[in-house]
Amino acid sequence: MFVSERMATSLITVVPQTTLAEAKALMDREKIRHLPVVDEKGKLLGIVSDRDMRDAQPSSLLQKEEYDRVFAKVMQHKVADIMTKDPLTISVYYTLQDTLLVMRQRKVGALPVIDEEGCLKGIMSTRDLLNAFVNVMGIGEPGTLLCILVKEQSGQMKKIVDIITEENVSLGSVMVARYWDKDKRAVFPYLMTNNVVRIKEKLVQQGFELIDPMTWYLKQLPGDKQ
């Protein structure tokens, strides 16, 4: 669950002397929105986003001649002129959870990942993070979600896992809703199988309640309580 396992490592970078024209062509060609700026040793100096690039361009409301003239002039500038210096970075030892929380708090779309020397090792975008969570939830692969209501007491999860194990079914993920009905928790195992009949039967035999999430949802709607 470390960013080093999930970040993009085939990096496209520029140096401070790169012109905006070169940088723009690179971003267009590679379809990337963040361009790290590094020195000759690979040390991260800054980052240029597509937003920085757009801010530097002339207004699209200008007359074409005027636009072209200003555009040509702007494009001769160096990325050092527009890059965000000392950008927010994360280390290769950050976990996915750290990254999720920092991206949410600082409202950034991508984070450069650096080592102890400040050298660029990778880049972690919201898209990489989404892919990581699809992987963690197991939902990129076929499976079935069970919704089980359990009493709040120890040993419940073990019983559930034992039943799943007895049936030789692989677990994609388990999500737990800690607050469901009073004194109850809801457990959502994602099982990598189509064959859930026996597991459901065994769960019911052992006293678990299988819930229909929609019935529960409708019960919670205001003004619809019975």
Partner: protein, 316 residues
Amino acid sequence: MKKTGFVYDKRYRMHTTFNGHPECSYRLDAILDGLRESGLLEKLLPVVAEPAQQRWIEAVHNIKYIVRFEEACLMGLPDFDHPDNSICRETYDIALLAAGGVLKAIDAMMEGKIDNAFCAVRPPGHHAETDKAMGFCYFNNVAIGARYLQQQWGIKKVGIIDFDVHHGNGTQQIFENDDTVFYYSIHEHPSFAYPGTGREFETGSARGTGYTLNTPILPGRGDMDYRKKLTTDMVPAIKKFEPEVVLLSAGFDAHSADLMSGINLTTEGYKFVSETIINIVNKYAGGRVISVLEGGYNLDVLPVLVADHIRMLAEL
């Protein structure tokens, strides 16, 4: 009353799955017993199944996959591609016979011997992709039928309607770039049910964009949403596509008594599904429809639902 063909071969029982597996030969026993007891069986025209020729399997599946599947069976492996897909030495031959049963039903209908047909075949097919077995399926019977209709019978536009409770990912994958086969599926929402595909935004790609339509139904919404969505989603889509022939992936596992899903469709709800589909097939495809068994695992309910479905086909 219509001339309804019935495909069944006792060898379909020879594809044996591990003890306790829901996709078992008892399913067909239950269906046959039900049809016999209700007196329906004698009103149907038997269609004799033959193994499909390999070239028709190859019209859908990758040759390497076909060989890999045959080898797994010959080697006596317990399963193929996933522990769900339980196999025995005979599975490969029986899978050919299942697809071949559908092709024979197509022949009989296209030759005018029957009006429509129900194929009580197994193993089922709609999860099987070009080169992957999934969800108890090895050869995609309905997809092979669609290609056969096009290549052997010169049919240009084939409609596939899939009302198994699970999304037919295989059928979707096989035809996703194709604008000559329209795939419609109504199923339990992929966040809850196997195989986790079939969302509303999956509508085909490249030339096939707009020729796939998915209706995911949230758990427990059963009859109410099926009635609404079949009317608002499926009917206009089939009307617009104007298929010459319709193939059904007929799954009976959305029933409230079937533990395989949480949709809670009732026996009456299933009648509505069959009736709505057969009405539009009569209206837009000249009544030409071949219905092919997919899922349905509750052995008490399955024969009732199949009998109701066949009554609708035969207009009894």
